[in-house]
């Protein structure tokens, strides 16, 4: 019994490491110039968006969550922050000029998304 619980615990720790740090969620490819992102329940949906380098992309955020967490979206690598209105779209257009992964988050980093520039 004791060894079983220990084994389960260790397996759980490995699973945590694998799920949150090693495995990556599926990415969303953009269709056209605009990607709509739903802001609700602590997550951006979709949260990983792939976009080609040097091409403008418009992200339209639709905020459903009225909690202050969701209020701002920050692209700190691009010096962009925007206040998101509740129940309405807010479009942010940017042109990434270097390949790489750029996070966008809410102020307190509860909402996290990644722009993958390829």
């Amino acid at each position: 019994m004791i060894w079983l619980i220990n084994l389960l615990g260790l397996a759980l720790m490995l699973a945590i490491v694998w799920w949150f740090w090693i495995a990556k969620p599926a990415t969303t490819q953009r269709q056209g110039d605009t990607v709509d992102i739903l802001v609700d329940d602590g997550v951006y949906t979709p949260s990983r968006i792939e976009t080609p380098v040097n091409q403008p992309i418009t992200l339209r955020f639709l905020r459903k969550d009225a909690s202050p967490c969701a209020e701002q979206v920050i692209f700190s690598d691009f010096d962009i922050s925007a206040e998101l209105p509740v129940d309405d779209y807010k479009a942010i257009t940017l042109t990434p000029q270097e390949k790489g992964e750029y996070d966008f988050t809410c102020q307190m980093q509860m909402y996290r998304g990644t722009l993958i520039v390829i």
């Binding site: 615990g9 490491v17 949150f20 495995a23 969620p25 602590g42 997550v43 009225a66 920050i74 509860m110």
Partner: protein, 742 residues
């Protein structure tokens, strides 16, 4: 999803137009319903469609339209926030109604034992009640946690959901199958689950209140924009919504009114209070041809002006945009924390599992309850939000506060650099001095009169655009002197000008110009040096090889320059003055304002090289100058301050733009940077100390020493308060006061 878009429609002359506009709107893909109000000249459109497409459709139908927002958006936002706030309080109340009696019952021993035949059904009932409350008051934590989990993310919801979920599941197992659990560990934690949910909701509500104040600066700026404007159309004045004002329209402003868009005065004159944008306390006189900008207040007269920048192009809109951008940017210190915050929650999960295993193995089955309590407490006490909020919330308040003083900080990096400055280089003209020179002395050489000196000097300079030239021409105009035509005008960079008059080559400029032309200046040299010693700029005037006289021009020092320089020195900065002017004049100015290091006679294109030299000495150097002439030096400096005059600013040019032409702005900007960075560090220190002490204590590290196990409910209270504390600390920055004595 359906969102209502409101449009203002113009050009509808009859009720028949209503139908065609409605049809045009309805034809747009995504529109579910479109309704036009003829009396109000508005349309309300429902459906998932962008306003741009709707406006385009109306235009194609032959009318004009603009999206109406502003008032409504702001009100909607407030209503939504208020509703959320109330919802949080309601959830807190519901959870507390169950939680408080449970805690009292548990502590007072009023509840029956779990493993009795009477106790079991009662506890089962309490467990189901708890589940109901958890779903109502804490359901959002569970949905949030699940959704985040699916995208390989973990956040505060994850921790709360796992913590309270584990407490509940364990309790239910104990109630249903008491025999599977050692008798010492037979305890239910329903009260902990509901109390934690109550506290976290309460914390959320409190944080929301505190946060409202952090965006005060932006709200104040947005509030400067009037909602309507009085337009003169076909000779009639009418009030129209601000979005309907076009370019080149004539607008009427009456005393006490706010100016709705940017434009130039075409009739009348007035004084305008620009303090809300520039921080300049005195109203500015405006007459025909002068620019007025949106958001400023007309103090006295009534005037007409023609709009030239509207919507997102106004100075006000650009300021708002710039402040917004800056508020979202992060200094290096913040980016580092982001990395930590990104891995924080999964790391806490690992700590929680490890905590369980350690207690389980150490205490065996007897201490199973400790293992459960410690695990739940670790999950609950960890607060990723405090860590994530520490930097951005301070930046937001600090940058907003700066904007209140007419200081626009480009980004977090500039803010951080401004806090590290060691030396500050001030351009003289327009920065230390007013920047509007005037002729102070005319010294004729033998055989010439003052009149002749001025006449020749002004004739030479009439084609020049240099500010000194302007002063000379202006002086001639005042004395009603007729100027002669000159040929072959030439500006000699860093020396002066030359031109031909009736076949003679004439020169006006500094010593170097005279020397290079071999002109003897011995006669007036002492007088020139004496003038230079009084902070005036003497210029030699020669016709052919003959010295004609000296024209001395002085640029008055700004009233508050000396006080501001003293403040900069008190901030520990070495203050250096850099100027193209001659050494004697520059030193005289420097002496008057208390600057001890002067670099004079610098060609404009060499200014950035001097900044570079200072940097090579290992100093963090700021440059203060006007955004246009000093652009390369501003770019070279670690922090470039563009000092503006009024609203006439080149917003793009520098790291920090000062809308008010006072050097106090530089001192204020640096003081705000210091205050903001200190605030960030306090927040980060607090968040790190909180988590790095809280988590081990929650894990039970003090138990072997002091026999202390932290109660999960106390952990819930600590967690709820930690992010409120961070926000409140950032809010202290709002009390920053300028050190300027005005």
């Amino acid at each position: 999803m359906t969102a209502a878009t409101r449009l203002s429609i113009s050009g509808m002359s009859c009720a028949g137009c209503v139908a065609s506009v409605e049809q045009a709107l309805q034809a747009v893909p995504g529109v579910e319903q479109a309704e036009v109000n003829f009396a109000e000249h508005t349309a309300t459109v429902e459906g998932d469609v962008s306003a741009d497409k709707l406006v385009e459709a109306v235009k194609q139908a032959g009318y004009d339209a603009a999206e109406m927002k502003g008032q409504n958006a702001e009100a909607d936002k407030e209503a939504a926030e208020m509703a959320h706030y109330r919802r949080l309080l309601r959830k807190t109340a519901v959870a507390a109604v169950l939680g408080v009696p449970l805690v009292i019952g548990d502590m007072g021993g009023f509840l029956p034992a779990l493993d009795t035949s009477l106790g079991q059904p009662i506890w089962l009932f309490l467990g189901l009640l708890t589940l109901g409350v958890m779903i109502y008051a804490g359901g959002h934590f569970f949905t949030g946690a699940w959704k985040a989990f699916r995208v390989h993310n973990a956040n505060m919801d994850t921790l709360i959901a796992l913590g309270t979920g584990a407490a509940w599941v364990y309790s239910v197992v104990v109630v249903l199958f008491p025999d599977t659990v050692p008798s010492l560990a037979r305890h239910a934690y329903f009260e902990a689950a509901v109390v934690i949910i109550a506290l976290v909701n309460l914390g959320g509500a409190l944080e929301m209140r505190a946060r409202g104040k952090t965006s005060e600066a932006i709200r104040r700026l947005i509030g400067l924009q009037p909602k309507t404007a009085r337009v003169v159309r076909e000779g009639k004045e009418q009030d129209v919504p601000i979005d309907e004002v076009g370019l080149g329209e004539t607008l009427r402003i009456r005393p006490g009114e706010r100016i709705p868009v940017d434009g130039d005065i075409i009739d009348g004159h007035s004084s305008v209070d620009e303090s809300m944008l520039t921080g300049e306390p005195l109203p500015v006189t405006k007459q025909v041809g002068d620019e007025v900008v949106a958001g400023t207040i007309n103090v006295s007269g009534s005037f007409l002006f023609q709009s030239k920048r509207i919507g997102a192009d106004t100075v006000l809109a650009q300021i708002i945009e710039m402040v917004r951008r800056a508020q979202g940017s992060k200094p290096a210190i913040g980016r580092l924390v982001d990395k930590v915050a990104g891995v924080f929650v999964p790391a806490v999960l690992l700590v929680a599992v490890a905590t369980f295993l350690i207690w389980f193995n150490l205490g065996g089955e007897v201490l199973l309850s400790h293992a459960i309590v410690a695990t739940v407490t670790v999950l609950i006490i960890a607060c990723p939000c405090a860590l994530g909020l520490a930097t951005p919330i301070s930046i937001m308040v600090g940058v907003g506060k700066a904007a209140e003083y007419g200081i626009l900080i480009r980004n977090g990096e500039a803010l951080q650099q401004a806090g590290k400055l060691e030396a500050i280089v001030l351009d003289k003209t327009g920065t230390v001095t007013v920047g509007r020179p005037s002729v102070t002395h005319l010294v004729p050489a033998a055989d010439y009169s003052e009149e002749q000196v001025l006449q020749l000097a002004a004739s030479l300079e009439q084609g020049s655009e240099h500010p000194l030239a302007h002063a000379i021409v202006e002086a001639a105009k005042q004395r009603e002197i007729t100027l002669s035509d000159v040929q072959r005008f030439e500006a000699i960079t860093g020396q002066g000008v030359s031109a031909e008059l009736d076949g003679d080559v004439c020169y006006l400029g500094n010593v170097r110009l005279m020397q290079s032309q071999g002109i003897d200046i011995g006669e007036l040299q002492d007088r020139a040096q004496q003038l230079a010693g009084q902070a005036e700029t003497p210029m030699y005037l020669a016709r052919g090889q003959q010295l004609v006289g000296i024209v001395a021009v002085a640029d008055p020092i700004k009233d508050d320059s000396a006080a501001a320089v003293r403040r900069l020195q008190q901030l520990g900065l070495k203050v250096i003055m850099l100027t193209g002017d001659n050494t004697a004049t520059a030193q005289a100015v420097a002496r008057q304002v208390g600057i001890d290091e002067v670099i004079a006679e610098v060609q404009p294109q060499d200014k950035n090289r001097h900044i570079e030299q200072l940097q090579q000495r290992g100093e963090v150097v700021a440059m203060v100058g006007d955004g246009i002439n000093d652009a390369p030096a501003l770019a070279q400096a670690d922090v470039g301050f563009a000092i503006g005059s009024g609203t006439d600013v080149a917003i793009e040019s520098a790291d920090v733009t000062l809308m008010r032409g006072s050097l106090h702005g530089v001192a204020d900007a640096i003081a705000i940077s210091h205050a903001t960075l200190r605030n960030i560090k306090q927040n980060l220190f607090g968040a790190f100390v909180y988590n790095s002490l809280g988590i081990p204590i929650a894990a039970g590290i003090l138990y072997p020493i002091m026999g202390l196990m932290l109660n999960p409910m106390i952990a819930g209270a600590a967690m709820a308060m930690s992010s409120v504390t961070v926000v409140s600390n950032a809010n202290r920055l709002r009390w920053f006061k300028s050190g300027a004595q005005s």
